[in-house]
Every structure is written in structure tokens, then in C-alpha cells.
């Protein structure tokens, strides 16, 4: 088995372990650590599949931003000892729904057979980025996708201002 495949399956296993740990652990801080494991593994998989910029953005935006924000949320929220999951009936139905979703998606993927499509010979094998991947993404961000980037940046600004406003205690004003 090629080295890239070994790496891919290793990181995929790590991501799944992190996700499972997130679902199962009773404590919120452990769930945050599990999410960290999953996010780092997904960033590594991005590199393996030729998306360098996305991997760096994953590290900066998710691990550096969202996860730290979540940790602050855990520390600031009162009574944050995590608590158990929901009742047994709800938990069972949730797991059943999740298993059903995965089974359905896997069935559809197996039937679709994307590996056989002409644009992706040997699609089960990860590809390391060719040299122009970063240049390509940067050019794309400033040409074909410049309007979505601007819209998203304005939306992010509005959302952050709104978050600061919502989180302020009215008695402090």
C-alpha cells in the first residue's frame, strides 16, 4: 500500500475516533479536545488531497478561532460540568437516526461509484497538491469568487458585532 494511502487512512481513523469521542464523552472539555483531534486530522487530509490553503485556513479559523471561542464559552457558562447526554429513549433514537443516515449515504455512494468517473482516475488514492495549488486558490479568490468573498466578509463583520452585542450583560451598560 502506498505511503499516501497509509497516511490518509491513519488520519481518517483519527478523525473518526475524535468524532466518536466527542459524541460519547460526558464532559464538555473532553468534547472540545476530541473536536481538536478531529479538526487537526481533517486539516491533514486537506493537505493530502491537494488543498493547502484550506488546510491552513482550517488550522487558523477552526483550531485557532472557533475552538478557542468554544473553550471560552465553556469557561464562561455557569454550571458547565457537562452533564449527561439526554434520556435513554432520545439517545437511542439519535443513534438510530445517525446509523440510518450513514447507511443511506454509504449505500448511495456505493451505488454512484464516483471512483469510476472519467475526471478522477484512481480516485481512492489521495493526491498531493501540484505546485500551483496556492497560486490557483489565491487567483481564484481575487477573480472568480471576489463577490462571495466580499459578501462573506461583511457577514462575518456583522455577525461578530452582533455576537458582542448579544453577549453583553444589559446590567453592565
Amino acid at each position: 500500500m502506498p505511503l499516501l494511502n497509509v497516511l490518509f487512512f491513519g488520519f481518517a481513523a483519527l478523525a473518526v475516533v475524535g468524532g466518536t469521542w466527542l459524541v460519547l464523552t460526558p464532559r464538555v472539555l473532553h468534547a472540545a479536545l476530541a473536536l481538536l483531534l478531529t479538526l487537526l486530522s481533517v486539516a491533514a487530509i486537506f493537505v493530502l488531497w491537494g488543498a493547502d490553503v484550506a488546510a491552513v485556513a482550517q488550522l487558523m479559523a477552526y483550531v485557532g478561532g472557533v475552538l478557542v471561542l468554544t473553550l471560552f464559552g465553556i469557561m464562561l457558562s455557569p454550571g458547565g460540568r457537562g452533564g449527561p447526554a439526554s434520556d435513554a429513549v432520545n439517545r437511542l433514537s439519535g443513534w438510530a437516526l445517525g446509523a440510518l443516515t450513514f447507511a443511506g449515504l454509504a449505500y448511495v455512494l456505493h451505488g454512484a461509484g464516483f471512483e469510476r468517473l472519467p475526471w478522477r482516475p484512481g480516485a481512492a488514492v489521495p493526491i498531493i497538491a501540484h505546485a500551483g495549488s496556492v497560486v490557483e486558490t489565491g487567483t481564484g479568490l481575487l477573480t472568480t469568487a471576489v463577490l462571495p468573498v466580499e459578501i462573506v466578509s461583511i457577514l462575518l463583520l456583522i455577525a461578530l458585532i452582533a455576537a458582542a452585542t448579544i453577549a453583553t450583560d444589559p446590567s453592565d451598560r
Partner: protein
């Protein structure tokens, strides 16, 4: 790759449905976003401009905005009710 993505999606769905703490529910939503991003990366070579690798960045920005606003709301509600759990 696509099986990994659907497995992460299912796990995120389970986290959203079964967990009682609102912050863990938000983490489950991040898992869902990551599953979608994996699909973008996988299908990017189908496009000659490889735009999938570019839209991933926009999805991440949206996820950051969502996390900021949702955490602010959770903090306010948790301060009112004294607990971040969803069933209080």
C-alpha cells in the same frame, strides 16, 4: 474519502441530537461543516478551476460567524437559566 465524510456527518448528527449541553451541540454542528468541506475538497478536481478548494474557505468563514453568534446566545441564555443545558 466520501465514506469518511458521511461517517463524520452521521457522528455530528448524533452529537446534535443526543447531547444535552448546548455547547456540545455547537461542536456537533462544526463536525457537520467539516463533513461538507471534505466533500468540497474531494470534488474540487472535477472543476477545471478547482473552485471547491476556494468555497471551503467561505464555508469556514460562515462557520466562524455561526459559532460566534450561537455562543453569544448560549452564554446569555445560560446566564438567565443557570445552566447551558437545552432542556431547562
Amino acid at each position: 474519502m466520501l465514506y469518511l465524510s458521511s461517517l463524520l456527518f452521521a457522528l455530528g448528527l448524533v452529537a446534535v441530537i443526543t447531547r444535552r449541553n448546548a455547547i456540545v451541540v455547537l461542536m456537533g454542528i462544526e463536525l457537520l461543516f467539516n463533513a461538507a468541506n471534505l466533500n468540497f475538497i474531494y470534488f474540487a478536481p472535477a472543476d477545471p478551476l478547482h473552485q471547491g478548494r476556494l468555497w471551503v474557505l467561505l464555508v469556514m468563514a460562515l462557520a466562524a460567524a455561526e459559532a460566534a453568534v450561537a455562543l453569544a446566545i448560549v452564554l446569555r441564555v445560560a446566564r438567565l437559566t443557570g445552566s447551558p443545558n437545552l432542556d431547562r
